[in-house]
């Protein structure tokens, strides 16, 4: 079997094996009165269809929150990283506060956000932003200051303006780092949006996200629906990560060593 087919076949095998184990665990290990704790995959699938409409609208709401928060984090982190890349002194001045931003527990911020901007999309966006911002800033800044010294000298000797040095040299050179940050942020964005929704979401009809559904299903012990919600949240993460991996490929595959085909 060709290598290509194997890379599809093997994960499928593992998947089938895990579903088998799941059923086995349910039927042979768990006592009948405990089985509700681990709903069968087919029950989860059924829940997915039964709750389809509300899951879909919740997913859309969460995706919107995640996208706005992620987008804002990308834009602002880039501008901020540019400023930080100017000098070690600027970095030293701002880094402690950047840490504060990252280390503050979101759960504590939630009630504050609710009081400031009210529950709902705005709070969700802010929570997502706060979660995505740090890895983006740190990676992009590292990229901007890691430019090959010889290339910088080449530009200096070519009497490049500051603007040229940044946009023709430092920014493209930082892209691999930027995309590392972007991948982390893309995976965190849906998690951030769901977390934000749990603590500061809007419960009004049709405006809740996956976090809101989690609270409802949890309160009602609807385990198959909870598992379905988890699956949808996971899927949303895959979509975000996939999009970023695609973008990264577009930007880097021509030139960056990480996309070098070793068997050429």
């Amino acid at each position: 079997m060709s290598r290509r087919l194997l890379t599809i076949f093997l994960p499928v095998c593992i998947g089938v094996l895990m579903i088998g184990l799941w059923y086995g665990l349910r039927l042979h290990v768990l006592a009948p009165d405990q089985r509700f704790l681990l709903p069968a995959p087919d029950a989860i699938l059924r829940a997915l269809f039964e709750k389809g409409p509300e899951l879909w609208s919740a997913t859309v709401n969460t995706a919107i929150g995640a996208l706005w928060g992620f987008g804002a984090a990308v834009a602002l982190s880039f501008a901020f990283a540019l400023a930080l890349s100017v000098s070690p002194l600027v970095r030293a001045s701002f880094y402690p506060y950047l840490m504060v931003l990252q280390l503050t527990p979101i759960i504590v911020l939630a009630p504050i956000l609710i009081l400031w901007v009210g529950p709902g999309l705005k709070s969700v966006v802010i929570v997502t932003f706060l979660i995505c911002f740090f890895p983006l800033v740190v990676n992009t800044t590292q990229g901007l200051i890691s430019t090959d010294r010889n290339l910088v000298e080449l530009f200096r000797m070519g009497r490049a303006s500051r603007f040229q040095e940044i946009f023709l040299l430092r920014v493209p050179a930082s892209l691999p780092y930027f995309f590392t940050g972007l991948r982390i942020a893309a995976i965190l964005a849906p998690i951030g949006a769901i977390t934000g929704d749990v603590y500061a979401g809007n419960s009004a009809g049709g405006q809740g996200g996956l976090g809101f559904l989690t609270i409802i299903y949890g309160a009602q012990f609807q385990l198959p629906a909870l598992f379905a919600t988890a699956a949808v949240g996971c899927l949303l993460g895959f979509v975000f990560a996939g999009a970023v991996i695609g973008l990264s490929w577009l930007a880097l595959h021509h030139w960056h060593d990480s996309y070098q085909r070793k068997d050429l």
Partner: protein, 260 residues
């Protein structure tokens, strides 16, 4: 003086901080279109000498002018070829060659023309749209050279550009470099570790000693006729290589260990 010399060192000393000078009392000139090689043991300040001319570092004492201007000011057009190819990996070969022109806002059409000429000159016309990672070490160095030449410099500074290449590639690039030098008139300062390379390329070889870096010998290289691959077998060439090697060895033994 009617025409300022391309490069003129007058009693130049360079030290980093308060330490012993890296270069001490250097007096050295290059004449128009001359090919000067600098050779010496490691730590003799060869590269620093080039970096001084390029204005990448400033001198401590003395006077250094490039085409009559102090190096801190706008000097005549000079180009630098680094030890490493120093290419921008995200740009194609053509765009790498054009990058210096882009920094000067040269119109795109002119850039195209110039890079096309340079690609032909260094024999990489078929690789215009390749990325640096697809090239061999020798090809990358050719791109680096082509990029330096796009500025049509009057002074070319080369810091061990072929040091990392295998001998055959290095020999071929030396021949090509000389051929280009013949067609485009520029003055060259060439730093190298290789005596054979220095003798083959130069009108004059400068031997430096270390601790502190200073000039100990200047050897004019009078090789008859156009220099080609065959020159390397001529007795005149072999004798000069032997002479310069001997002087280089004596320069190495001159180096006093730094006082600690």
């Amino acid at each position: 003086m009617s025409q300022p010399l391309p490069v003129e060192f007058k009693h130049v000393t360079k030290r980093f901080g308060d330490s012993q000078p890296v270069l001490s009392d250097i007096t050295l000139s290059a004449y128009p279109y001359e090919f000067v090689s600098i050779i010496g043991p490691s730590g003799c300040g060869k590269s620093t000498l080039l970096r001084l001319i390029a204005g990448l570092t400033s001198l401590s004492e003395g006077q250094l002018t490039v085409f009559g201007h102090p190096t801190t000011q706008e000097a005549g057009d000079l180009s630098f070829v680094f030890q490493e190819p120093t290419l921008l990996p995200w740009l194609t070969v053509r765009r790498n060659i054009e990058v210096m022109l882009r920094l000067r806002h040269t119109p795109a059409a002119l850039r195209r023309d110039r890079s096309h000429q340079m690609l032909e000159l260094v024999g990489l016309a078929d690789f215009a749209d390749s990325y640096p990672r697809q090239l061999s070490g020798g090809q990358k160095m050719r791109v680096s050279l082509a990029r330096a030449l796009t500025l049509q410099p009057s002074l070319l500074l080369l810091d061990e550009p072929f040091g990392a290449l295998d001998e055959m590639t290095r020999d071929r690039l030396n021949e090509e470099l000389l051929a280009i030098h013949k067609r485009q008139k520029w003055t060259a300062f060439f730093v190298t570790h290789s005596v054979a390379e220095a003798v083959f390329l130069s009108d004059r070889v400068i031997v430096l000693a270390a601790n502190p870096g200073r000039i100990v010998h200047e050897i004019p290289i009078d090789l008859p006729g156009p220099r080609t691959a065959g020159t390397r077998h001529s007795s005149a060439y072999l004798k000069l290589v032997a002479d310069v090697s001997r002087l280089l060895r004596s320069a190495e033994s001159l180096a006093t260990p730094p006082a600690v």
